[in-house]
């Protein structure tokens, strides 16, 4: 198809599909009238059974924890995939030797380095409070990854210790993933069902409460931080360290 024919075909098809979709969505309850029952049942049982008021965290890490397990592994597989796709070239280049690059100014590095600590603390805070307030492992993990990239940009631009830092990030990603999986298996061993809570529930609202939920948050946080930093690092390798061919 020529581009013109293709866009006409697409417009007609999407017009038809869009129309059918609009007809379909008018069959939904009007906006603002969530009919339940799933969410309402959870809202009723979670505070008593899981000692947390963070319904989303309880859903993500416990009631629908198996989805989250799958989701974390999607992230894991995608990062492995992106790394595998980008990495082939790096190995070749390493054999050829590391290209020298200009060092950034001291001010740049100092500013970056000064920001790393606070950002990590903030990320850790978001992860640790995921079962009490909005946030949790995913958002916090991305923030921590941001700090790691900042450190990378501030200190490592001169001569990136590739193998070491990449292996470390890889290890963090795998550790987080394995941690969540082991948490699931822990439920099986200690409580008889995969992903079942096996830790004391504590008092709702405290940092150490809600059983396995905060542990899951930490595992996911480690994995996400490792994964996001790893994928950014792999892209950085591609983007900045490559000599033109």
């Amino acid at each position: 198809m020529s581009r013109r024919v293709r866009s006409v075909v697409a417009l007609v098809a999407l017009g038809a599909l869009g129309t059918v979709l609009v007809i379909a969505v008018t069959g939904l309850e009007p906006f603002g009238h969530y009919p339940g029952p799933y969410g309402d049942v959870l809202a009723k049982v979670v505070p008593g059974e899981r000692h947390t008021g963070q319904l989303v965290a309880a859903t993500v890490f416990d009631y629908r924890g198996f989805d989250t397990l799958g989701e974390e592994m999607i992230l894991f597989a995608a990062v492995c995939g992106a790394a595998a796709l980008l990495r082939v070239r790096r190995r070749k280049r390493e054999e050829a030797g590391t290209p020298a690059r200009p060092a950034p100014s001291f001010a740049t590095r100092a500013t970056g380095a000064a920001l790393v600590g606070p950002v990590i603390v903030f990320g850790a805070y978001v992860i640790a409070n995921g079962h009490i307030t909005p946030g949790g492992g995913f958002s916090g993990g991305v923030i921590v990854a941001g700090a790691l990239v900042l450190a990378y940009a501030a200190g490592q631009v001169v001569r990136l210790r590739r193998v070491g830092s990449i292996a470390l990030l890889e290890g963090a990603e795998a550790l987080g993933a394995a941690g969540f999986l082991l948490l699931a298996v822990g439920g099986l061993i200690a409580a008889g069902a995969l992903l079942k809570n096996f830790l004391p529930l504590g008092t709702s609202g405290l940092l150490l409460s809600a059983g396995t939920i905060p542990v899951g948050n930490v595992a996911v946080g480690i994995e996400v931080a490792g994964a996001v930093a790893l994928v950014i690092a792999e892209f950085l390798e591609q983007a900045l360290l490559e000599e033109p061919e």
Partner: protein, 586 residues
Amino acid sequence: MALAGLAVVVPLLAAAVLAGTTSLRARRVADLVALAAATAVTGLCVALVVRTSDHSIVSWMGGWHPRNGIALGIGLVADPLSAGLAAFASFLTVVALSIAWHQIDTAGHLFHALVLSFLAGMVGFCLAGDLFTAFVFFELMSVSAYALAGFRVEERAPIEGSLSFAITNSVGSLLLLIGIALIYGRTGALNLAQIGVALTHRPPDALVAVTFALIACGFFVKAAIVPFHFWMADAYAVAPTSISLLFAGAMSELGLYAIARIYWSAFAGPLGPHIDTLRDILLILGVATALVGGVMCGGQRHLKRLLAFATVAHMGILLCGVALLTHDALAGVAVFVVGDGLVKASLFVAVGALEHRRGSVDEVALYGRGRDLRALGTVFAVAGLALAALPPFGPFLGRAMIEDAATTEGRGWVAPLLLIASGLVGGAVLRVVRTVFLGRGPVPPEHPACRDADGGDELDRDPGTPVATIVAGALLLMAGLAWGLVPGLVDAATSAAARFTDHLGYVNLVLHDAPQAAAAAPGHPPTGTAFLYGAASSLLAILVAAARTVPEGPLRPLHSGRIGDYVAYAMVGAAAVAVVFATTLV
């Protein structure tokens, strides 16, 4: 009962361990760990099949059992068909990993971790009793598959194939997800059984019909149903051979499995009154897919693309089986998936070995160069006949059961068309025997297509390795042939399918923990007509093999290799299916 959950968690744990230690371990360690994990999963799934022979098993993640008919958590549902498919997929993974043992191109980092997460995605998807969980594991399988398809990143074709694979399939997943959101908006449930109950509370309307259309289209993309199939040849031809085998033997089939699972657990109630219309729509799609696959298969000279289009044709046959919406036809589907999967796996292994020996997968370049490779030629020849549904082997048995079920449902027109499709597929494989292994008869015409797609798998040049590979191929082939002769298979498959299609039994099992009685349904062995059709398609295959070329009509230019075109066709298909469903199923 933790087998189901473990079958998902075990490969993932192994994958995490392997990915976390890439810089610390030797290649062989990864091979061994991955093989051990895949073998363990196969064992777990086979154990599930055995345990579910009397009654299906639901395991609730987190121990959250349903309360008052409302599912709080996620349940994995194992019955002989779902666990059996998971077992077959993990068995093929073991085969794929064994084949990959000798391949340099798979030595790269992370290959094994990706194969294992792919496996976990397939197993979780088969067992999911929850619509969103099915989506998540479907995505896990897909994302791993995108990366695996593009794994030979040093060449051009894998990059393009992987891109078109990933983009078209992401659009498919998007359709699926919109469907899931709409069904949640209607029912407030994600558990399939609970959705099934909720949908019967009010008469079906456009929302229900469109939702089913979107979910079906999402899976049609994965199953390569016309016109959603364009990406498939590109992706399957460029992946490492071990991975192509896994894609063709297991991944595509899962798309159709999902349609059957979701129809019978959730939509059988509301769409039941329109079952005849639905049957016809799906049958038309199935027959069209079978014929397009068959015709395109005949026009290929790149052997892996040829097998990819053979897979398209077989997905069409399978969709016909699903489309009939009876347990007899579904039993045929189950039989066909295994029989056809084994034979096709043997062909992929054989292509890999041929590539190893002769450094090409281009039929024209290989003309006459396989004369001394007798064992390989024999595998090709026997597999070609088996794919042409020569009685009484595995693929024949499955196709015959589907055809007989179609005739019983008053769709006598289906069987002759499927006959043509498998005749074309078998003929294309037999033509390769004639040209490559015998070096006789006319050379297939030159095609500008896939010039760069011929790059080899860069196999080890160790002359000792392929013997084991050829033996593996021959064993797979023999298993595929013998599959049609297993005593009691028809009855067992029919009983399993009868339980699978028992909507009320499923609902009561999942939501009310009421054991689902084993449905003893008598199986129907192939009729005389089916044997006749099998013989006819084998004959057709031999005729096709002798011909120089098969007329393709305007089909080939449509396969333009352009991602934008492919997505546009998929949208045309989705719009058509949605409009037809919305106007005929309410």
